[in-house]
């Protein structure tokens, strides 16, 4: 998926730059660096860690996810659809007397309406989470970096994408170093 980029950066070898990564040794360093990156106004960047760092979303300035809203809307629509299906079948298409109850009585529909609501909500949660995270993602430029692989063990990485409007090879490098990052390196796309 081609993203709108403000500017395309190239390494000296002529490769397109994906972004710039810096390593951190402890979660605390990473946490405070994230706060500084947030305050510097960066928007397209991410923190990679071997485990969840509590409060990192606030330190990064992440906004509330849109997943719950979608779940709410689609869950309620699903429940409505569940009613509609049953009503159409047992009231419109093929009305049938069951146990002497009225046609299209809403009571027996309720369990199915509930199930429809649940299944729409859960599928929306899963699929919209994947969509927002661009999953499944078969490859990521960072995985080419040998040093990056340690984020699944004992290293923390902050990577700023070159697609960030504030990205600038020298300025970003200086800021990452000032935040306590080391092994600051360009990442090729």
């Amino acid at each position: 998926m081609a993203r709108a980029r403000t500017k395309i950066y190239k390494t000296s070898a002529g490769e397109v730059v994906y972004g710039m990564m810096a390593e951190f040794a402890t979660p605390a360093d990473t946490f405070h660096a994230a706060e500084k990156m947030r305050d510097a106004g960066y928007t397209r960047w991410d923190v990679y860690a071997p485990f969840a760092i509590h409060g990192i979303d606030e330190a990064m300035g992440l906004k509330t996810s849109r997943v719950p809203l979608l779940c709410g809307i689609l869950g309620l629509s699903g429940a409505g659809l569940g009613y509609l299906f049953q009503w159409w079948v047992s009231h419109q298409a093929y009305p049938m007397v069951v146990q002497g109850k009225p046609y299209g009585a809403w009571q027996p529909f309720m369990p199915i309406i509930f199930e429809f609501g649940v299944i729409f909500t859960s599928f929306t949660a899963l699929l919209s989470m994947m969509a927002f995270n661009r999953l499944p993602m078969w490859h990521h430029p960072l995985l080419k970096k040998e040093r990056f692989l340690r984020t699944s063990d004992d290293r923390f990485v902050i990577c700023v994408e070159s697609a960030d409007s504030k990205f600038d090879p020298d300025g970003t490098r200086k800021l990452l170093e000032k935040c306590g990052g080391y092994n600051v390196d360009l990442v090729e796309d």
């Binding site: 605390a28 946490f31 760092i53 409060g55 146990q99 009571q107 309720m110």
Partner: protein
């Protein structure tokens, strides 16, 4: 944010060691925020007491003036309202202890405050006991099964169904149960509240373990007694009807109302600038979620009870709904569903509503009013021949009386004790509590 596990190491990890700690010191909260000033709440409590007493006296005289049955039914609704609040809070206290819930210091304290006043509820029921059992001259107005006429084989009113139930449903056993329930509830409520208040002074962390221990037994007894009390005080109003789900239903309604009252208290304190870091929008969010959960639980149980009866269509079960879906009562079931479920459900779905004390308090007040409406729908139709809405001022007065008297006592209790658990061993969890959603 001060308790994230990074950056402030040594700040969040020494909790529970080194004996007692005070939440004010640990959370850097001004201790004045955790107590009410001397004499606070007196005016509010006095107003509640005055309104309550006036309402009770007015109900009595209106009943004396010819609407005896309706006045008693109205007062009974008020009693059930307070019973729901107190019992719900007793259950919540024991659940929080049993789950070893750490985040809920202020919630636990307010639940204790409300449930430790369950003796008032017991006293509030006395007038009905006296009127029905001792002064009814064989013609009880609410609990018709108490009438000896119904069990007299030679009488035209002989009731075979009641005869089959008389082993359980007889006045003496009913009185014994009344005493037993309230003594037991009072014992648990005062023990739990007493220990937690003693811990505020001494810092003895083993009191928490003790509370947890008796809560495990307590929850079992609570579940049974709550169910049987609901049979005794609500279901037996219509002694032909029975529903095995009714005990759970009553608990769901009571717990929902109890959470609503706890929210009203805590949000009011928060809006007055109290509690500080001990009760933030994070805690508010979670109490809102619990209110949401019990709203859904109420709807689930209500529907399940209705659904099975609707399907099987057995007369002694449908009698209950037959009375409540016909004629003037026809719109009420839907009003109940909308007021008790649809409105709070949709409002509580919104994250920001749960995190805002002003809005959450409004929703909680709505839930309390809806609970009163629910009791109206539960009790009032048994007065056959008295249309819904007829003498609605009497119904309102009757409900207001016991509720205001109970609230007067609750307000005093809330103001008398610290607003949160002060030296609970899980204080660091209260202070570090965050939702991460």
């Amino acid at each position: 944010m001060s308790q994230i596990s990074v950056g402030h190491s040594g700040h969040g990890h020494d909790a529970g060691h080194g004996g007692e700690a005070h939440i004010a010191a640990r959370g850097r909260i001004d201790p004045a925020l955790l107590t009410m000033p001397h004499g606070a709440g007196r005016a509010l409590s006095a107003i509640f007491l005055l309104v309550g007493l006036v309402a009770v006296v007015a109900t009595f005289f209106l009943g004396y003036g010819g609407r005896a049955a309706q006045a008693m039914a109205a007062y009974h609704m008020g009693f059930l309202f307070t019973l729901g609040l107190a019992l719900g809070c007793l259950g919540i206290t024991m659940m929080l202890q049993q789950f070893n819930s750490g985040w809920s210091g202020p919630v636990c304290r307010q639940a204790e405050n409300i449930s430790s006043n369950i003796w008032v509820v017991g006293l509030l029921f006395l007038p009905i006991v006296v009127l029905e059992v001792f002064l009814s001259h064989g013609h009880p107005r609410l609990f018709h099964w108490m009438s000896p006429d119904l069990l007299d084989q030679n009488s035209a009113h002989y009731d075979t169904l009641l005869n089959a139930k008389k082993g359980f449903l007889n006045t003496n056993f009913w009185l014994v149960r009344y005493v037993f329930y309230f003594v037991m509830w009072m014992w648990f409520a005062t023990k739990l509240a007493g220990w937690s208040r003693a811990q505020d002074r001494t810092g003895d962390k083993w009191l928490t373990a003790k509370a947890r221990k008796i809560s495990s037994v307590g929850l079992l007894l609570f579940a049974l007694s709550c169910a049987f009390a609901s049979f005794d005080y609500v279901m037996s109003l219509d002694h032909h009807w029975y529903s095995t789900m009714f005990g759970v239903w009553f608990f769901s309604a009571a717990a929902k109302a109890a959470f609503a009252l706890i929210i009203v208290i805590l949000a009011s304190l928060k809006l007055r600038g109290k509690l500080g870091a001990a009760y933030t929008s994070e805690h508010l969010h979670d109490t809102g979620k619990l209110l949401f959960a019990f709203t859904v639980f109420w709807a689930y149980i209500s529907f399940s009870q209705y659904f099975l009866m609707w399907y099987s269509n057995i007369p002694e079960e449908t009698a209950y709904f037959n009375l409540r879906v016909r004629e003037a009562w026809q719109p009420f079931p839907m009003i109940m569903v909308v007021a008790n479920f649809v409105v709070p459900f949709l409002l509580l779905l919104v994250r920001n509503f749960k995190r805002n004390p002003t809005i959450l308090r409004l929703i909680a007040l709505w839930v309390l009013v809806a609970f009163a409406l629910d009791l109206y729908f539960l009790v009032r139709p048994i007065l056959r021949g008295v249309e819904p809405g007829e003498g609605v001022w009497l119904d309102a007065l009757g409900i207001l009386g016991p509720v205001c008297i109970f609230l007067a006592v609750v307000v005093r209790t809330v103001c008398k004790h610290p607003l949160t658990l002060l030296k609970d061993p899980r204080l660091h969890e209260v202070l570090a509590h965050k939702n991460y959603v």
